[in-house]
Amino acid sequence: MSSADITSERDLPPESEASAKGDVAPERDGPRDTGLDDASLHRWLARTWRTPPGIIGALSSVDHKVIARRYLITAFLFLCLGGLNAVVMRIQLSGPRRGLIGPDLYNQLFTMHGVTMMFLFAVPIVQATGIYLVPLMVGTRNIAFPRLNAFSYWVYVSGGLFAWVSFALSMAPDVGWFAYVPLSGPEYAPGKRADVWAQMITYTEVSSLAVAVATIVTVFKHRAPGMSLDKIPLYVWALLVTSFVVVFAMPAVMVTSTFLILDRLVGTHIFNPAEGGDALLFQHLFWFFGHPEVYIIFLPATGMVSAIIPAFARRPMFGHLGLVLSLIAVGFLSFGLWVHHMFATGLPKLGASFFTASSMMIAIPNGVQIFCWLATLWDSRPVIRTPLLFVFGFFFIFVIGGLTGVMLASVPLDLQVHDTYFVVAHFHYVLIGGSVFPLLGAAYFWFPKITGRMMSERLGRWHFWLAMVGFNAAFFPMHIVGLWGMPRRVYTYPAELGWGNINFFISAGAVLFFLSFVLFAFNLVHSALRGAPAGDNLWDAGTLEWATSSPPPSYNFARIPIVTNVEPLWAEREALPVATGLRVDVRELVVSTVAEAHPDIREKSATPSIWPLLAAIAVGGTFLYSIFTPWAIVWGAAPIAITLIGWFWPKGDPEDEE
């Protein structure tokens, strides 16, 4: 489409204005929203911001809500797949010497379960929630770099497909989710399975890094006028800190997997002690990412809790500043802990003590957060609805996970239970308690915003209790079998050890827990189709995403809100102050200053484009091909370059030019 088409389609009088300075083409001015009545404002904006119709249109979408919805659904499907892996493992382990599956398949199952949950579910889903909510909460019309955001989704999907198609071909990684060398190295892992691990990491990390940069810039530069640093909602703070952790942690795992693939494919010796390399180097690099990873999953969840509690407690969060500072402290400290995953490797004593101390220190900011949440609930009369129930579930489960974590931070105990089911129990308490329960609460909380319909409260309560009972029945006894000595990653065990009954109980709990997700899925689908209409702000919450309709229109806000308080909607009950003066015929939004959020520039946001998808195909094809030959990088360079040029080359839209 050329600019001439746009002019005729959107029938603008071609006005021109003298340019400010230098050799800049004069801005073609267009109609502004000032003084426009609501109906024509809506008509203009809807036409300017819509995702084009048709299949190509859908694939070209750059609307953060559309992309986020795709991410959420895809990540939920991966949760179900990873959950099915787990159920199959639990059926095999439900009694001694079950012959349902053999060791080879079992190895693939626990590895696929681990990587699916960590890389295809937990990280993408928290980032996706942010892609949806952050632009709304900061009061802007799209995420920064919308095309990069679309690209990240396509790369993520290709990574997921790559891993699961490999699994279907019995080519899935079988070396555990952290794929330690030498097990995953060229000598002990012939075939392509370990390469699949290494490259699926590359896909998913490229995608998370892209989202992290887009999120940071959205929070820094696209906040609504007046949203100075002290008025940023806690959820947005959490996503901001998380994105920083992603930026500094994820490169470590990309370096690790690249080194591994080089060792395997072109014969480098980075991890090979026989030729001057070192196997422990792999573990250092991996856990430099791996521990922050836990916080990448956990911090957004705390943000969700901090958004849900004030809405139901009917008061602003107690200790806002304290919560922000603890989020930042956790972000920093998460980088000082990685070695606690390596206590069993015989590190120097002093080093180990340092990491024990810092592992315990991170309990302080986490404690501050829990204290603030409880204090907020304490002197209020909370309205107990499903989202809040899941927050209570989170408190309960996460505290147990934290306690066993403090136990594991002590070296002697860690050595005792290393690689047993005690550890499996611990990290599921932390991951599921610390992330999945808040996510479920968040789903009930924001579903009405996303779909415009309510979820069933009755089914929600059933879901909560089923999940609580199922989860604890499945995972609590794992602590006990762990202390009895049952190792993780075994496909069966002899009857004489007497572990049969308790394992049967665990498996029954796991099935119950899985069923709770089936109920949840039913509630989601049923409510999306038949739920009662929700209205704009059904919880009477105070942050900006509730200021617009449910579901929000493509342009998010008809006029950009002005923020005067941390809970802007509570502060301005009669009428929300808004800004005017933006163009309505092109995708215009406000760029503001980093600290004070003074409006600074009227910037154009990118228009829909198919090129991010094509670029993702080029990049994905290159990654796939590269597990077979290093020349893939050379052959892949041309299509990648072409698609990137297509992406960035201006097409004559006013959005590209000004």
Partner: protein
């Protein structure tokens, strides 16, 4: 929800340079993550170097001359790079076009010399871990260099079309200048690690 207009934004400019623009922050974000990747690769190299008492593992010394020439070229390129930045800020299309051509050439020149750096390492990547790390570090920076030079060339062509005549493009030139500084900056520690650390060790 009811609304009341309380602020008029119609007078705001439509583009800004440097930290005023989101693209600048995006560029900074990518620098941060790439810089982390470089730092970790360098850390891995130092980790192995301190682990093995006979580091360099009895390989011959690398010949530093091609690397030194690349270093000098890169440092020299900073001067026209910053002159170009000044013109971009003034939105002066003529000098910016010339500056972009110069910077494209000054990007290609070190790449040509880079070609001779690999044999000058005097070891292959699959000889031992020392060789592997040298190739990895040099390879990483070369990828970095190639992508940025490619980017610069495309932007140069763009500046000669009618699309060049816009505020947004001058912002892109500014970001390109910024990124080139980063490419030069990351090279210095890698240069020292590759060519001078083995000499001390």
């Amino acid at each position: 929800m009811n609304q009341r207009p309380a602020m008029d934004l119609s007078g705001l400019p439509t583009f800004g340079h440097g930290p005023r623009s989101p693209t600048w922050w995006g560029t900074l974000g990518f620098m941060a993550l790439e810089g982390t990747g470089f730092a970790l690769a360098a850390g891995a190299y130092l980790y192995l170097a301190t682990l093995w008492p006979n580091w360099r593992l009895s390989a011959p010394q690398p010949n530093h001359w091609p690397g030194t020439i690349v270093t000098l070229l890169l440092i020299a390129s900073l001067v026209p790079n910053h002159i170009l930045n000044g013109y971009a800020k003034q939105c002066a299309i003529g000098p910016v076009r010339i500056g972009m051509v110069v910077m494209s050439l000054l990007g290609i020149a070190p790449l040509v010399v880079r070609w001779f750096e690999f044999p000058a390492l005097n070891i292959y990547w699959d000889t031992n871990a020392y060789g592997s790390m040298l190739w990895v570090l040099l390879g990483l920076h070369t990828t970095h260099l190639i992508t940025d030079v490619g980017d610069t060339i495309v932007l140069t062509v763009l500046m000669f079309t009618h699309h060049g005549y816009s505020g947004r493009r001058f912002g892109d030139v500014g970001d390109n200048v910024f990124y080139w500084d980063f490419v030069v900056l990351t090279w210095i520690p890698i240069y020292l690690l590759i060519y001078w650390l083995p000499r001390w060790g």
